[in-house]
Each structure stands twice: as C-alpha cells, then as structure tokens.
Symmetry: C2
Subunit: 148 residues, 2 copies
C-alpha cells in the first residue's frame, strides 16, 4: 500500500490538470462570444439561480468584493445585468440578469454545451457519472473544511 499522502497528492495533481484542460476548452469558447470566464460564470449563476446579493456571488465564485463590483459593472455596461436595491437591507445590492442577458445565455448555451461535451468526451457516460459523484462529494467536503 502506498503512503496515504500519495493518494491525496496524486488526486490533487490530476484534479488540477483535468480542470485546467477542460477549462481551456470552455475559456476558448467564452472568449469567442466576447466574455471571460468570470463574467460568464456570474451570468450563468444569475440565469440559473435568480437574483443574488453581490456578496453571495463572491462566495460562490470565490472572488474578492472589489472584483465582484468590477465584474458586475462590466456586465451592467453590456446590459446583461442590472443592480437592484434590497428593500430589506440598504447595504445590499442584488445583481439580476436582464432580458438581454437571458437571451444571450439562451443563444450561446447550445454551443457551450457542445464545447463541454467535446472537452469531456474521453470518458464514457458511466465514467462521467462516477466521476461526477466523487467530485461532488470532494467539492462539498473541501468547501466545508475550507470555511472552518
């Protein structure tokens, strides 16, 4: 049996590489449609999860508060996102996707999906499901232990 630390380091290495190369596919496509990874991630989040306080966007996509302000400003300039004041807490702004933003996501999502399918086509459907289950568990536990 190998030392336990080896399993962990090995996992870390292959996780980083897989993420790097799969994201290389995604990034190339996202650049082509005129956004960067962060902007696309925020827009997708708002599309799928609805309006979010800026703070919560930063918690999910892991960026500093200053960068959230910057990225949301860019999306507002592109008219893909609007800032909406919170009626309950005057410190809070929600970011909300606009109709133009929704249309953009809906237009580009089929291509995005095709790019991701190409990126992960080295695994069979069963392998994808097995990997996804393990990664879900890993992601949750890493998030929990990071916040403690």
């Amino acid at each position: 049996m190998a030392k336990p630390a080896n399993d962990s380091l090995q996992l870390f290495i292959v996780l980083s590489r897989a993420s790097q190369w799969v994201n290389a596919h995604a990034d190339r496509h996202i650049r082509r449609i005129g956004l960067n990874r962060t902007e696309f991630g925020v827009l997708e989040l708002l599309y799928h999860k609805g309006r979010q306080p800026l703070q919560q966007i930063g918690e999910k996509i892991l960026m500093t508060s200053g960068n959230i302000t910057y990225v949301v400003d860019k999306l507002v300039q592109k008219e893909f996102v609007a800032r909406v004041a919170s009626p309950e807490d005057r410190r809070v702004w929600f970011a909300e996707i606009t109709d133009k933003g929704k249309a953009f996501i809906e237009d580009t999502f089929p291509e995005h999906t095709a790019v991701i399918e190409e990126a992960v086509k080295g695994l069979t459907s069963e392998e994808k499901q097995a990997a996804a289950e393990l990664l879900k568990k890993l992601g949750h536990s890493a998030e929990q232990s990071f916040k403690k």
Copy 2:
C-alpha cells in the same frame, strides 16, 4: 436515461467546484509562504522535472509567453530559479531551480502535503484512487482534444 449532454455539463460543474475549493486550501497555504499559485507551480515543476525551456513551462501550466517571462523573473529575483542558456538553440532559455529554491520546496512540502490531505479528506483512500484514475483519463483526453 438522462440526455448525454447532462452528464457532461454536470461533470463540468462538479469538476470546477471541486477544483475551486481544493485549490482554495492550497492557495491559502501558498500565500502564507510568500508565493502565489503560479510561482509555486513553476517552482514545483522545476523541482520535480528538472530544468525546462520557458516555452515548455507555459505549455504545461497554460500561460502566455509574456507571463512566463514575468513569473520566472520574480522567481529569479527571489533566487529560487536561474536562467540557463541553451547550448543548442540560442533562442532558448532554460529555467532551473537553485539550491535555495530546492531548500524552500523541501522546507514547505510537508506542510503543503498536509494541507492537500486536509482538503481532500472527504474521500476515502479507495475513492481518491478511483477519482484520480478517472481524472487522469479526463485530463489527458481534454488536453489532446484541445490541441487538435
């Protein structure tokens, strides 16, 4: 059976999240020891794989040529790395880890390993091995299809 694209998108999502949170652990540690993720990655590469032409570093860690120059300059300033001319091709510089750089890696590696172990402790040893195998396959195929 779900649509095939769903397997792929789901895998992409959980891969991104797992990578994000595991890297959050690693980044926090790397910052504490005075480097950033890119610098540490380059230094580790040179430690484990020996001297590399700058070009090849960029291919492995996916960064632009300008950024390689910048990062290697920073590591040279810290005396962790030296530039060595190639005797065969006068365009090429190798980056090579110095004794000080080696000592730095050797000093910090036990902590780095402990941080990674903590980050991935949500999986059992068997699960780590299963995940690593799938991610290795995924990484290789994503790299190949990206370059085509």
